[in-house]
């Protein structure tokens, strides 16, 4: 933990070095936006949530104490911000309206469009539909399972770190992740069968 260079950057920011915060922001912004996007399924909302996450980091600087890796702390904040969002009544309505691809100015993975197979109109449509299906399925996972699964699968945190982030024991995290995978598989039944051929 003490060898984490991001901790030193955060401590420098705490001492008034604005450039250190800028470096942390630039390093993590894309990762936090994508975490929020996978969590809530809406890109505009995801950007708002990512900004709120970094604002909380900014405000928390005077009280910052390095008790874990910087990224563990950052994603704990991002998780809390996302949890607040999904508690809002508007969230359910948004979830039901997930039927759009990312905006044009939010470039999707360019590698997908480079793939000749993916460039065919029917393949593009199918890929687009699959993306919607996965986002909807993710949105329908219970919040703790979704949190643990995303922190593990997309962010690569250990069970111990996830336990710190969501205030649960390691064994509870292990169960959450397993159940999340099982449930996601069930929710994606149609996609699953189609891709088995």
């Amino acid at each position: 933990m003490l060898t984490d260079p991001d901790i030193q950057l955060m401590l420098n920011f705490k001492e008034g070095d604005q450039r250190a915060f800028q470096l942390l922001f630039d390093k993590y912004k894309k990762q936090v936006i994508n975490f929020c996007f996978r969590y809530c399924g809406h890109q505009a909302v995801a950007e708002e949530l990512a900004q709120e996450t970094f604002l909380r980091v900014y405000k928390a600087a005077p009280r910052y104490r390095p008790e874990a890796r910087f990224s563990t702390w950052l994603f704990k904040i991002a998780t809390n911000v996302c949890l607040n969002e999904i508690r809002r009544p508007i969230y359910r309505a948004r979830l039901d309206s997930i039927d759009q691809a990312p905006d044009e100015d939010h470039a999707a993975n360019p590698e997908l469009s480079m793939d000749p197979e993916q460039s065919r109109p029917d393949a593009l449509l199918e890929a687009h539909q699959n993306q919607i299906l996965i986002r909807q399925a993710m949105g329908r996972l219970p919040k703790e399972q979704r949190t643990a699964l995303l922190l593990r699968v997309t962010e690569g945190f250990s069970y111990g770190e996830i336990g710190q982030q969501i205030n649960r024991s390691e064994s509870h995290v292990k169960t959450l992740i397993y159940r999340g995978r099982q449930r996601l598989k069930k929710l994606l039944g149609a996609y699953w069968r189609k891709n088995d051929h």
Binding site: K30, A46, H106, L112, Q131, T175, Y178, Y191, W192
Partner: protein, 157 residues
């Protein structure tokens, strides 16, 4: 402790996440070589992760940075205003404190009657201190009480 993923499927998930001890990992892998059910479950879990990782990543929008730094600027402005207010309040604090202390003292004096001026009896005592210190007079206080009557008596000629 036996390692049996047929009975505890969370072990397969934990194996994927590299959260098991080396001997546990070895035992599960050995088990999967002879158990097609567990092997299939393990592959299914791997496919689920592949789907999650297959979600298209977003690039931050063109105005993401500008919006964020504008929020930071707002935050700093609010903080500056708050600190000015704090300076004003803390600068006036001694004046406010002494004013309040004076007010409280005045209220206490009024309610305890200390501010009404001297008691007439006390004034009388102070003015006649010489008389009161004359023990002859004190010894004949009963005579003083009848002073009016005595004064009207005529001295024998």
């Amino acid at each position: 402790m036996t390692i049996d993923p047929c009975k505890d499927e969370t072990l397969l998930s934990a194996l994927m996440d590299d959260e098991l001890l080396p001997e546990q990992k070895a035992a599960i892998r050995q088990h999967m070589e002879t158990c097609p059910v567990c092997r299939q479950r393990f592959e299914a879990l791997q496919q689920t992760d592949a789907m999650i990782n297959g979600m298209e990543p977003l690039e931050p929008s063109a105005d993401f940075n500008r919006n964020f730094w504008s929020k930071v600027a707002d935050l700093e402005n609010r903080a500056t205003k708050r600190s000015w207010l704090r300076v004003l309040l803390t600068g006036w604090r001694p004046v406010l404190a002494s004013g309040m202390a004076a007010g409280i003292a005045a209220v206490i004096l009024i309610y305890t009657g200390q501010g009404k001026g001297p008691n007439p009896e006390e004034v009388f005592i102070a003015q006649n201190m010489d008389l009161l210190q004359n023990y002859d007079v004190i010894d004949h206080l009963d005579m003083l009480e009848q002073w009016d009557a005595i004064e009207t008596m005529k001295e024998p000629s």
